[in-house]
């Protein structure tokens, strides 16, 4: 499930961009320290392989619905977490461009959701211990299922969190969660089965691929990998905590920054629009005691005080009408400009001049 730009606030999108770029840098660095040269083309071609495989549909048994591959787990098991993360990042980047899956700001979130969890959490912490030396088909299946489910659940939870922290939608946290998690349980199970199947297939045909990856995948020693990962999880939790505080106090980072910098007078609409909206978000999400991502560190007093505030500011009818007229005019002008340029170009290139490159 791809996160979309339109559901994100700049603060959340930017934070996950930062986290993702940091992880790309970290993975690149660790890889180049002990890189076998032949891994460079291998990773690249595997990216194309995952991209192409995701386009193949298959029927999920019992449901008749159509499934698609995620691929993060397969890669993590077959080429190790660092290489797998870079490959997933490149696949998602290419998809963000060619399919506009989600968009550019959401790319950070998407790489995190679909790359980080399978590669750095599910594979090393769940798959490896459960699969052991990877000789038993049953252990591979159990390990793949468990790690597939965990990776997808974390990813789905992450989508919910990112969406709600961004404050663009009104869907209550629990409702959203109850919709997303079960769907992704099913997807995770399918991913687990496919992962196990592919690993089994590869093991039967070319066992040396698996052996070489499992011997080179842990960095220096198992312990250091473990501690690195724990560090990462801690970092993620800390980032998430900081983020949720930031987002709940200022659901819209830029908005908040603008207010700080320019003073409120210059932003008459936002002046009553945003804080009201954000209080509405707070109010809704604050009813979820168990999840604690809410502004425990925020300002509870102000919140209760504002609980009765209507969600929508009292818009002055005059302003609103002007806005409406202006909006329609602006849109018409924009489309007119576009049309004029195309008409002009069309006339100029009337003799179908052979364009280079096409």
């Amino acid at each position: 499930m791809h996160m979309a730009d339109a559901l994100l606030s700049p603060a959340v999108g930017g934070a996950f961009w930062a986290g993702t770029i940091g992880t790309i840098g970290y993975a690149s660095k660790r890889l180049s320290e002990r890189l076998d040269d032949r891994t460079i083309p291998l990773m690249g071609v595997l990216g194309a392989f995952i991209f192409a495989s995701q386009m193949i549909n298959f029927t999920i048994p019992g449901t008749g619905s159509s499934g698609h591959l995620g691929g993060g787990m397969i890669l993590a098991v077959l080429v190790g977490p660092h290489a797998a993360f870079l490959v997933m990042a490149s696949v998602l980047t290419a998809q963000a461009l060619f399919f506009a899956d989600g968009g550019l700001l959401a790319l950070g979130c998407n790489i995190w959701n679909l790359g980080f969890y399978p590669c750095f959490v599910a594979c090393p912490l769940i798959y490896k211990p459960l699969a052991g030396d990877g000789r038993s088909a049953r252990r591979i299946l159990v390990a793949s299922l468990a790690s597939g489910i965990v990776a997808l659940q974390l990813g789905a939870f992450s989508v919910v969190l990112q969406t709600l922290l961004s404050g663009k939608i009104a869907l209550p946290f629990t409702t959203f969660l109850l919709m997303m998690q079960p769907i992704h349980l099913a997807i995770g199970i399918v991913e687990g089965f496919v992962t196990a199947g592919v690993i089994h297939y590869v093991r039967a045909a070319r066992p040396e691929i698996l052996d070489s990856s499992s011997s080179s995948a842990p960095l220096a020693a198992g312990i250091s990998l473990r501690s690195v990962l724990i560090g990462f999880v801690a970092l993620a939790v800390a980032t998430g905590g900081a983020l949720s505080w930031f987002a709940s106090t200022h659901p819209d980072g830029l908005e908040w920054a603008i207010g700080k910098v320019t003073g409120k007078d210059e932003l008459p609409e936002q002046e009553h629009g945003v804080p009201a909206a954000l209080k509405n978000v707070q109010e809704k999400t604050a009813f979820l005691p168990g999840y604690g991502f809410k502004p425990a560190a925020g300002e509870p007093k102000e919140k209760t005080r504002e609980t009765q505030t209507p969600a929508w500011p009292n818009v002055d009818a005059g302003t609103s009408l002007s806005g409406l007229i202006g909006g329609v005019l602006v849109l018409a002008m924009v489309l007119g400009i576009g049309w004029a340029i195309r008409a002009f170009r069309g006339k100029r290139s009337a003799p179908p001049s052979a364009r280079p490159g096409l």
């Binding site: 595997l46 297939y201 009818a317 609103s320 007229i325 909006g327 602006v330 489309l335 400009i337």
Partner: protein, 269 residues
């Protein structure tokens, strides 16, 4: 069928990106930065904002028109990827029932307004991303990312991915065609067959990577993918980024439609 549609869509975007227009000639870095600024500016609007977003349509419209990109093609692709945003946003009217006046006498629920805002933002950000790739070759974007400081190893991954994307999509498409030709109804398209297809493709990919590695060694590869600088930022690139940035800032901080509306009403009345 869907595979082939997706494949031809990518192929078309890719071919468009090698055209030669004013927009295509801009430095990839300039376009990447401008597009990111655009996306951030658009999504930074609060959840109930619609009208102030309209001026932002000028950016994709200009890029599309000057870059000679078919508008219908981009619009279709935007619609094709909209389901998740629609699915999540459609709940806004349900959970946000407060009533607002969008024009004197016209009342709607606030949820519809925020839903519409999501859709407008969606159309803006997605079309901007598609136009970026339609007007900038993928290798160009990669070189731009490298210069913007992304790790060389990651960027070389992107380049290899791009190089073999079409080769492997064709390979996968041939296998899928062979499967579908001998499958009837749901039989044959199940998970087990899929696993075998993916397994086979994986092994072929590994073998291909081995041959590529051999070809690289034969030409002196020693662990670094070298590249030669070819782009230099020209004044026009800087002007483009600056102009785009100023325009986005203007539209972000000044309620342009309101002002135009007031102006028009002032003139009329």
């Amino acid at each position: 069928m869907r595979f082939e549609a997706a494949y031809s869509g990518i192929g078309r975007l890719d071919r468009l990106s090698y055209r030669d227009t004013v927009v295509h000639r801009l430095d990839p870095r300039a376009k990447v930065i401008a597009t990111l600024l655009f996306v951030v500016a658009v999504v930074s609007f609060p959840r109930y904002e619609i009208l102030s977003l309209f001026p932002f349509f000028l950016f994709p419209v200009l890029i599309g028109a000057l870059g000679d990109i078919p508008a219908g093609f981009i619009a279709k692709k935007v619609v094709a990827v909209s389901p998740f945003a629609v699915f999540v946003g459609i709940f806004n009217p349900l959970f946000d029932p407060g009533v607002v006046a969008i024009a004197p006498g016209v009342l709607v629920s606030a949820g519809w307004v925020s839903f519409a805002s999501i859709l407008v933002k969606f159309a803006l950000t997605i079309s901007a991303a598609l136009l970026l790739i339609a007007t900038t070759s993928f290798p160009g974007i990669c070189r731009g990312l490298r210069r913007l400081g992304l790790p060389a190893l990651f960027v070389s991954q992107l380049l290899f991915l791009y190089r073999y994307l079409f080769v492997l999509m064709e390979e996968a498409m041939r296998v899928v065609r062979a499967r579908d030709m001998r499958s009837f109804g749901k039989r044959g398209a199940g998970t087990l067959v899929f696993v075998r297809i993916v397994g086979t493709l994986f092994l072929r990919t590994v073998e291909r990577a081995e041959r590529i590695y051999g070809a690289m060694l034969a030409r002196g590869f020693r662990g670094e993918v070298p590249s030669i600088r070819r782009e230099t930022l020209r004044p026009s690139d800087a002007v483009f980024v600056l102009a785009a940035g100023c325009f986005f800032a203007l539209c972000r901080f000044v309620p342009v439609p309101q002002m135009v509306g007031r102006l028009v009403r002032g003139l009329a009345g």
